[in-house]
Symmetry: C2
Subunit: 337 residues, 2 copies
């Protein structure tokens, strides 16, 4: 298996992507194609004494930064490592793509250069949140600020496939994030989506209030990209806020006790950190594309690459394609009946 | 001062409202008008040996339950304690109203029976959230699922008045909850509201990402009622989720240590409990109206009554009215200039 990795994306590039690649080659037995400035990559490898065995370099002149407008990836920055990597993916030079670079650019690039799965209206940026009894995928967490019911319906289907094939959850429950549990709740978007999900053969839980999200009653959380972004970032913000608050509460209790508790608090903070679960997956693209967090270190990059491998192993793109075909068939039969 | 209290609203009525009233008379020196079934109220008072000194009863035959549709308060349930209390408020028989009953019914009732402040398009349900360095009012937390920019602009103004007059925050900062900090971020609603707030004489902080909400950088959080409801309930849900998680982490560390930590955890959970801050205020109504949490006990009801008194003392309705007039004047001058 060949995983293409953007060697220039993220705060710690190219070192972090390189370290992730080295570990992935060793532990996962994959070939990694590092996309970026060949001179810089080899220099960093030499400097840190990393062997390039199992690693290929796909040279790219340019880099797209966090300050570049996303659309620049198909304009002035078409020669950047992210664009070159996504084109290589499209051309079958790899099985999946991983980048810790500009999220917006990755979404535009994946959509325009790699393309979506035929029949998918919009790709979703989908992080996995920790819950009381496991994990839940959030569809969409910011890729599509405005959504239509059909889009949310596809998000629900793709999220279910991901949780089943990649996270190993049998019959994942789909919850529609809403401002109340009753069927009549929400805006037109939620009310119409509710009916679509109810009529689908997904495991629809019904509306889920934000209060219930951490409970883990649903493994697929469906909402528009604006609301999803609020949920994701409040999860993140409250996690560190609570950790700080607890830390303050436990100060002045003696060195040993403090040490013990700080260790617990760190563990707690890590368990709440959605970055540790791996990157966010771009669901709906014709190949697995993983967005690593901008602050990813070598370890985080390794986890993102492993996540990409699990997507390939789990055949998520193929399964989504089949599910779409089955959906089409059912609605065709319904309309004929 | 006379505070009208719905004696039949909430899970523990009429005992909790009665206990809140008794304590309010004693500690705040207010007169409380208990609205509800006279026989039941006096029976409970006698049973628990509470003196009715400083407490008047305004008899109401009926009760609106959590299962009644909100609009029933102006239809089949127009004789319920909530409706009778709100009409009495409108007729000047009291200075403020407190209820722990059906939120939707309270919103409809306050709007139709007590009426809004002249010039206010919509009333907002506004709870106060704990933050790292104090509190922030959330406008709107669910009263208005769909909003227009002018509504959010009024929410920002009313929230600023509340934080200044009731919470004693000088020059409260107004943040527009959005999916990014840049001016261009969000939906049409956020983009247009941003320009209104920028042009206003409020202390506009700019867009605030959900991640930043707990930081306390803003004391007035502006958003539509759908998004606000997500923020409020995720705050609540994650609070108890984290407390449970921490509890699990600290089990099996010996009885004494456990006791110590559980005490800390309870304190933490309480500090995160927005109910403890008092009820949610219905801003935009011609009199102060406080919504106590359905699960309110006597203590929570007392806090809600105290909050109502602070709203009257702080003259929030008068201040909002003046602010509206000033706003009108400014825009008139602008249009003439």
């Amino acid at each position: 298996m060949r995983i293409i990795v953007d060697a220039m994306g993220g705060d710690h590039a190219p070192l972090a992507p390189l370290e992730g690649a080295v570990r992935a080659v060793r532990e996962l037995g994959v070939t990694v194609v590092l996309c970026g400035d060949e001179q810089k990559i080899t220099a960093v490898a030499k400097e840190h004494g990393y062997s390039m065995e199992g690693i290929e370099i796909l040279h790219a002149e340019d880099v797209i930064t966090m300050h570049d407008a996303p659309t620049e990836i198909v304009k002035s920055k078409e020669g950047c490592s992210m664009a070159v990597g996504l084109k290589a993916l499209r051309e079958g030079k790899g099985d999946a793509f991983v980048s810790a670079g500009n999220s917006g650019a990755l979404l535009v690039g994946a959509t325009m250069l790699t393309r979506r799965i035929k029949g998918i209206t919009r790709a979703a940026m989908a992080p996995v949140l920790p819950t009381a009894n496991g994990h839940a995928i959030l569809m969409d967490a910011g890729a599509n600020v405005e959504c239509r019911p059909e889009m949310l319906m596809q998000f629900a289907m793709m999220g279910s496939v991901y949780m089943e094939k990649v996270m190993g959850v049998k019959e994942p429950k789909v919850g529609l994030i809403n401002n109340g549990s009753e069927e009549c709740k929400g805006r037109e978007l939620e009310q119409e989506t509710y009916q679509l999900l109810k009529a689908s053969d997904l495991h629809f839980y019904g509306n889920i209030e934000a209060r219930e999200v951490p409970s883990g009653n649903c493994q697929v959380l469906v909402t528009d990209g604006f609301t999803g972004n609020i949920v994701l970032k409040l999860y993140e913000g409250l996690g560190s806020f609570f950790a700080k608050k607890m830390k303050a509460m436990f100060t002045g209790i003696g060195k040993l006790g403090a040490l013990f508790i700080m260790k617990k608090l760190r563990a707690f903070k890590d368990s709440m950190d959605y970055k540790k679960v791996g990157g966010a997956v771009l669901l709906g693209i014709a190949y697995p594309v993983i967005k690593g967090h901008g602050s990813s270190d070598g370890g985080a990059m390794f986890h993102a690459i492993r996540q990409a491998k699990t997507c390939v192993d789990g055949k998520i793109v193929e399964t989504i394609t089949e599910a779409l075909a089955a959906q089409k068939l059912r609605s065709k039969q319904k309309s004929e009946a």
